[in-house]
Amino acid sequence: MHAMFNGDFGVILVNIFLLGILFAVAIAIARMRSLFAIVMLSGMYSLVSAAWYVAIDAVDVAFTEAAVGAGMSTVVLLGAMLLTSRTAKPEKFFFRLGPLLVCLATGAALIYATVDLPALGDATSAANAGVGYTYLQVGWFDTGIPNIVTPVLASYRGFDTLGETTVVFVAGLAVALLLGFGERSLAERIRNEGRTSNRGSKKAPAVSDEDPA
Amino acid sequence: MAEFLTDIQGIWEIVRFPLGALMCLAGALLCLVGTVGVLRFPDIYTRLHAASITDTSGAALVLIGMMLLSPGWLIVAKLFAICVFLFLTSPAASHALANAAHTAGVQPIIGRVGSSDADGEDA
């Protein structure tokens, strides 16, 4: 009884529980029609998946998921959703059959592939025994930085990270070129304020058809 | 006097781990009670009440328990920061939620709620 509440068993139980919650949230997202609820549930999904990343010791990934998934992605999804409709249209039954078959086949292939995967934290697996082990050995001598993720990202794979930063920049630029830079609303706002001559945070109702006498 | 102080420190070092674990457990149970309230209360305002109160007090208990368990002062400082942030954001979010629901015209359920299961089992 005492062994139930210490050490590894608790962590395994937590893993199973978090994965169960993830599964339930994913099913609920697939079943819902209201896009607001879907946005909120995707925020919940990122919360739980960050907790799961911490439980399996992938802390930097958890940090990125925490920073991006909770705040940024919710806001951007809301902004994108407000430009479209608020509910998803239900599909016909026959149109859903093809994607279902594709999903079932892919899931079966993935489950079949997990048989060959090494165990979590296996020291003799290909990822840990090859170049990863070399980085862990020479990282401190080469760079003198305690967190091994930072030198691998910034020093050993610095060229990749340059590419990733460029990808983020190009993504922002592409969205801005497609949707406009957002300065039109600011210009309208300033024009309205100049017309009603009502400055500050009074938030005057900016109706444009009534000219103030 | 110095012996007495070292004695106090030794006792504290022994006592703080069970005390912290106990406070963590108590706070977690409080959070659990609050979530049961969120699940069973009839309308949005009572659910907000259950969630808000247990979130702040239960979270404070859990965080103080973790402070007692923590090995260093940096961890204590981080936990204190989390405590301050939760105390700032959680009531503000609850207020904004209640305000938005009220502005949107959500009416609270007043009076008896039909069946008998709504009475007598609120904690």
């Binding site: 802390v59 | 936990l79 989390i82």
Partner: protein, 98 residues
Amino acid sequence: MIAAALIAILIGMALLMLRAFIGPTLYDRILAVNSFGTKTVLALGLLGFVMKRPEFLDIAITYALINFVSTIAILKFFRYRSFQVPLVRRGSGGNADG
């Protein structure tokens, strides 16, 4: 005992998830997701202590700060363009509106 506290908080998260699924109005769902964020902060802290590596509290701080932003964003944007639909939606989340 910390593991027991962690499991209690996880059960609370599951109950809140249920409320987020069945919530009649959208405000119930927002309430459930906000409370779920607080529970996740506590669960992350307790998870660090269970795994004996409490240096990971930075992630919990991030959530404590950022969860507020997503709640405010959803609250603010929910009323937009809702003139056509009834304000209080008594049905489930799956009703169709324009």
